[in-house]
């Protein structure tokens, strides 16, 4: 009787485990099925590197280079802002802050993570966008830069909490070993703790970036959505995600445009997969 129970439970758990893989495979196959057909008509080169995205002109021009560059530009900007601040914040929480400050900061970071992205986008639209417009004397404040700043806020909680965990998991003996050699607090952090926690910190950064590149709502609201090749970070851009979200509703089912949006989904899938894979490699590097 007990054996049967064990057997059933084991199989049940196995089924749950396999289910998640099964769904991922299904989603991927579906994306491939819907998306690959566009590559046959357009060709992978002119799809990925085409400079014009005019999906409803006749004939449709389906080059997603402006969208890829838009996504990369926004992500890069967000990374440049959120990585230094996020890591510094994690170091402060894990190593420097007194207990009460630590708790207050951790609660704050959790709250930041809890803000829905549409709310952040909304706040960005009414506060950040006009500010960017005035500061840089631009015709519009809806730019890649505005998107970067807002997305940096979204990446920050991920980066801070995972990097902080990585710093906590550095053995106490490393810290004492460095201090016992006469290192200052900063020398201990910089020369012992950060290198020892580096794999976890890189993983934190990658996961933060993964969050940014997949983000849709906020970027759609504040980056201006102009599908043109960006010349600087102070110009409107359109990201891969925003394109899908904005156009899926109006694309005719079964049209070239419709399939092209699925192909964009594949591109996004591949990018996020690569980012997560990198994060994983770093997380498990030492094991």
């Amino acid at each position: 009787m007990r054996k049967i129970k064990e057997f059933i439970i084991e199989k049940l758990i196995l089924f749950c485990g396999l289910a998640s893989i099964f769904f991922v495979v299904l989603i991927f196959l579906f994306l491939l099925k819907e998306g690959l057909s566009v590559l046959k008509t357009v060709g992978i080169g002119s799809f990925l590197f085409g400079k014009n995205w005019y999906p409803i002109s006749d004939p449709a021009q389906l080059g997603i280079l402006p969208l890829i560059l838009g996504s990369l530009l926004v992500t890069l900007g967000a990374a440049l802002i959120s990585i230094p601040i996020g890591i510094a914040c994690a170091v402060y929480i894990a190593e420097v802050a007194p207990l009460k400050m630590k708790e207050a900061l951790k609660a704050g970071i959790e709250l930041l993570a809890a803000i829905p992205s549409v709310v952040l986008g909304f706040i960005g639209m009414v506060t950040l966008v006009p500010w960017v417009k005035h500061l840089f004397h631009l015709p519009t404040g809806l730019t890649a830069f505005s998107g970067s700043v807002m997305l940096a806020f979204m990446a920050m909680p991920t980066i801070v909490s995972i990097a902080e965990d990585a710093l906590y998991s550095v053995p106490k003996s490393y810290r004492e070993g460095a201090l016992a050699l006469g290192a200052t607090h900063w020398q201990t952090i910089y020369r012992v703790l950060l290198p020892a926690a580096s794999s976890g910190i890189v993983a934190a950064v990658m996961l933060g970036i993964g969050r940014v590149i997949g983000e849709t709502m906020a970027v759609m609201m504040i980056t201006g959505n102009a599908a043109v090749l960006p010349k600087s970070i102070l110009e409107p851009v359109r990201t891969l995600t925003a394109t899908i979200a904005a156009e899926m509703g109006e694309a005719v089912v079964g049209s070239e445009h419709y399939f092209a949006l699925f192909a964009i989904g594949i591109v996004l899938f591949v990018i996020s997969f690569l980012i997560n894979l990198t994060a994983d490699l770093f997380l498990h590097r030492n094991q």
């Binding site: 070993g177 201090l179 016992a180 050699l181 006469g182 290192a183 020369r191 012992v192």
Partner: protein
Amino acid sequence: MVTFDIQKLSVWLGSTQALKNISMQVQAHEILTIIGPSNSGKTTFLRMLNRLNELGPRFRREGALLFDGTDIAALDAQIVRKKIGMVFALPLPLPLSIFDNVAYGARMHGVRNQKQLRAIVERSLQEAYLWDEVKDRLDTSAFKLSGGQQQRLCIARTLAVEPEVILFDEPCSGLDPISTAKVEDAMVKLKQRYTIVLVTNNVKQAARVGDRTAFFLSGELIELDKTDKMFTAPQYRRTEDYIRGKFG
């Protein structure tokens, strides 16, 4: 000459009193061994000497702890810890080469000249009796060394910052008898140049290397005497019982 002069030292870690009214001295160029069962306060005492205890929360101390005549709290913590090196229970090589492990502290204290670094590394490894075993493979990872070699590497790393005192916190607890003997050899030879305080759970080790031995029990200093005398004619019954292995 007196290196440490401790008067009526009491220490609290949180709500527990770890050390109770300790008064003793550590002489220069001696090996003072500290024995006692676990929770007797011997490691806490050792960590008082290089101010590691104060890193924990809710640390409080009373009494005086003079190092070369100055209270240790009045000195800069980094300077205290540079002058008073520490070797921990478990060998703790950093994920670097043998050379970089030893050069680590020196680099941190501002030595940049490569020639000077080489000299420091060679001297330190020789003093730790490791040089002959590793001189041909200084560039290999420190993790490739055996446990005993790693512990001597940690001793060399401590020596490289030119301390005056070396604190050993059960340095042989994870080592086999042969490695233990090598570490003990190194300690005995080191006392010509350094003052050594050794905390050990191994009573026989205290008898082998100590000039004087202190017996701690429940945070109190029960007895402190020349090692020979302590192990032949201890003053107190409790000391005798512990040394003979009746409790501990």
